[in-house]
């Protein structure tokens, strides 16, 4: 099985690489379209700002590559947000796999939403063997609402999507690579799809 982590200026590429290594998987980190297209599994990580990241992906032609992938793809954090159609962060037009907009948290609590929070209404392959209300680690200021495609929910001032899935595209708002045993199991579930 060949797993490729898309290499771009995201902060957590190495953390994701190490998390897979702990599972016994030696992933390839690459921005080469052919290497990405030929992978069995693709991970699209992300820590950073939406606008500049989309520009970077476009400059490398990776936006088209990602859109056209047919194998299982896992977007993480900003990677998930960029799979949506639009982000309020920098008013950015994104990859449009999911039809919704990504919105800025507003309300009485602190922003960003940082720390361990519980996830619920878990569905599908990604959350196999994961008990309801398991804790995972989040760091984000923007969120995806609850959609028809939501496969895990979380609550911070309101319910929002902790994970979404459509066809071969899986995406999580939290950081499975930093979410202890629960996160490892979720990554493993993805690799076993």
């Amino acid at each position: 099985m060949k797993t490729v982590i898309i290499d771009y200026n995201a902060g957590n590429v190495r953390s994701v690489y190490y998390a897979l290594k702990r599972l016994g998987i030696e992933a390839e980190i690459s921005d080469n379209p052919e290497r990405i297209k030929s992978a069995d599994k693709v991970i699209f990580p992300g820590v950073g700002e939406a606008g500049s990241t989309m520009q970077y992906l476009q400059s490398k032609g990776l936006d088209t590559v990602i859109r056209e992938l047919t194998q299982p793809v896992l977007g993480i954090c900003l990677g998930m947000q960029l799979l949506c159609s639009f982000s309020e962060e920098g008013n950015t037009k994104c990859l449009d796999i999911f039809p919704n907009s990504v919105k800025l948290f507003k309300g009485t609590e602190k922003v960003p939403h940082v720390g361990w929070n519980s996830i619920f209404n878990l569905k599908g392959d990604l959350f196999k063997n994961i008990p309801e209300n398991s804790f995972v680690y989040f760091v984000h200021s923007y969120y995806v609402e609850i959609l028809d495609d939501t496969v895990a929910a979380c609550n911070y001032m309101q319910n929002f999507s902790a994970a979404i899935q459509k066809d071969n595209f899986y995406a999580v708002q939290f950081h499975p690579e930093k979410s202890g045993e629960t996160g490892s199991q979720i990554l493993k579930n993805f690799l076993l799809i």
């Binding site: 290594k21 950073g48 602190k110 922003v111 940082v114 008990p131 950081h175 930093k178």
Partner: protein, 263 residues
């Protein structure tokens, strides 16, 4: 529900853990990687590594250590101690640190906070403040508490947030090492005024102190060293205690499957 974080702090010198550590089940308590993994297994939510090495070889040793920690640790960690520049931070983040903490360098050059937030995002910039109450107000101290300034901790915290700091790590020098509890008043004042998380540090001696800093002190996270290192308050016991008192904390659920993937 978002939980309150419990953060053990490890002091590092020349790539090794310092301060006596009395941890059962460890082959080498001076090995930061092994100690960190033990804390992760206990259910610590995050770790802070504070490098106190004074030698010129410091940067290189620390960078290598961070890589090693990142390879083994499956929870977030922050690295601090002597960080002065964008370049310092870039190396640590590329090697797998989730956040870095800056202290003296940020006071001397506040624009460093803007620069780091601009380059790497606020989420990885922790501003550490060492502060002491002089009978009238809380003032910022530098160089590990050795140098006094006339800067008020509250004002500095507000400025740091505006400049792009993502979290404040607030250590009360009046309380640090006393085991008499955290500095509740200044922590609450800063936490209520700011829209970013505040980590309280200094003074933890009993489980009740954590309850107090999370409720009256409005802290988002609490950091301690010796009480964890010497096993005086094991992390699981502290979390069970807090949970019974209705403080939201993460009690990790056992993984059903720890095997590696083959193929």
């Amino acid at each position: 529900m978002l939980t309150k974080r419990i953060i053990p702090c490890l002091d590092i010198k020349d790539g090794r853990t310092v301060k006596g550590v009395n941890f059962v089940d460890l082959r080498d308590a001076g090995d930061p990687v092994e100690l960190a993994a033990a804390y992760a297994r206990q259910g610590a939510d995050e770790l802070v590594f504070l490098d106190i090495t004074a030698t010129v070889e410091r940067r290189k040793t620390l960078a290598e250590l961070v890589k090693d920690i990142a390879a083994h640790l499956n929870i977030p960690f922050t690295v601090g101690g002597g960080i002065k520049s964008v370049k310092d931070v870039s190396v640590l983040l590329n090697n797998g640190a989730d956040k870095i903490s800056i202290n003296t360098a940020a006071v001397k050059n506040p624009a460093l906070i803007n620069e780091l937030a601009g380059n790497f995002g606020s989420q990885c910039v922790v501003l550490a403040i060492d502060t002491r109450f002089d009978g009238k107000d809380w003032y910022v101290y530098l160089n590990g508490g050795r140098t006094a300034t006339n800067i008020e901790a509250f004002e500095w915290a507000k400025e740091a947030e505006q400049r792009g700091a993502g979290e404040i790590l607030l250590t009360s020098m009046n309380h640090d090492g006393t085991k008499n509890g955290f500095a509740v008043n200044i922590t609450r004042k800063i936490s209520e005024a700011l829209n970013i998380p505040v980590i309280a540090s200094g003074g933890a001696g009993k489980k009740e102190h954590f309850y107090e800093i999370f409720t009256e002190g409005k802290a988002d996270a609490a950091l301690a060293a010796s009480i964890f290192h010497f096993g005086e308050i094991p992390v699981p016991e502290l979390k069970t205690f807090l949970s019974k008192k209705n403080i939201p904390v993460r009690i990790p659920l056992k993984s059903s499957d720890e095997s590696q993937i083959t193929g």
